[in-house]
């Protein structure tokens, strides 16, 4: 095949005729769509991806550090109830012991 043939064929292919579209085609499409509802159902995988995206932590390191600091603060601010628990258990034990005394 010669170059001249190639050029001629390329020129013919580029010069193919297209009848112009109606000037209001785009408007017709938009009007048609306006009368139709959208189907918002997501396929399973995109739905799952969207669901996980809701729980996405933008800066996980900051979140972990903040949670630790908050935990420490809450831990220190809670009153120490260890002693009172011991007292409670001792009184319960003494009650039980008293209850078991022979009549």
């Amino acid at each position: 095949m010669s170059d001249r043939q190639d050029e001629k064929l390329d020129a013919m292919l580029r010069a193919r005729r297209v009848e112009p579209a109606s000037p209001d085609l785009a408007q017709r499409i938009v009007l048609k769509a306006q009368s139709l509802p959208q189907n918002q159902t997501l396929p399973l995988m995109p739905w799952l991806r969207q669901l996980f995206a809701e729980f996405h932590l933008p800066k996980p390191a900051y979140v972990v550090v903040s949670a630790l600091v908050l935990g420490i603060i809450v831990g220190f601010s809670t009153p120490d109830r260890t002693a009172s628990k011991d007292e409670e258990s001792a009184s319960v034990q003494s009650f039980l012991d008293a209850d078991e005394l022979p009549l």
């Binding site: 013919m12 109606s22 938009v30 139709l36």
Partner: protein, 184 residues
């Protein structure tokens, strides 16, 4: 009609469409209707049918906006070319090819009557021979020559690699040159 969002790219408009944005849809339609109409016309050679097919493609996008997946589809036009081509091919499978328009206007009114006649015959024969090409060769020609897509873009729209596309175009051109010997 569209408020006009020339600053928004197609992906941004599609995100708005997925949230039910009519104006974004109108902008997208205004922006791309002409090019997809031209592509459809290449396949069906009839204005009304080409318009119906393009309308159908856009309406499907509106009704099922989730069919556009930004994570999977790199570019809207590349993806939508494929949608339009598939609709055209489906249409062709259902219907017999339309006869070419007998009243095809002259491409250049300054031509003499003889030149014009030869040109019209050339165009008719070319369309007939392109319509007779295998589906993939025809699509490769339509995307590369008519839409002015780069080979890389056309390959992406067809879902083939670059070498396969070049091979399709080469085979199509060999066939056309052979069948149009009298004109090329």
């Amino acid at each position: 009609m569209a408020a006009g969002w020339p600053d928004k790219d197609d992906q941004e408009l599609l995100a708005l469409i997925q949230d039910g944005g009519h104006q974004a849809f109108a902008e997208l339609v205004q922006r791309h209707t002409e090019r997809f109409y031209r592509l459809a016309y290449r396949y069906v050679q009839n204005r009304e049918t080409a318009e119906d097919l393009v309308q159908d493609a856009f309406v499907r996008l509106w009704e099922n906006p989730a069919s556009w997946r930004p994570d999977r589809n790199s570019k809207f036009t590349t993806w939508f070319y494929r949608i339009v081509v598939n609709l055209c091919l489906d249409w062709q499978k259902k219907k017999r090819p339309m006869p070419l328009d007998e009243d095809m206007p002259l491409a250049d009114e300054r031509e003499s009557a003889d030149e014009a006649m030869i040109r019209i015959q050339e165009q008719r024969l070319l369309e007939k021979e392109i319509a007779a090409l295998p589906e993939r060769q025809r699509t490769a020609l339509n995307l590369c020559f008519d839409e002015g897509l780069s080979n890389q873009e056309a390959a992406a729209a067809m879902g083939v690699n670059l070498k396969a596309l070049q091979s399709l175009i080469m085979r199509a051109k060999i066939t056309l040159k052979e069948r149009m010997k009298a004109y090329v």
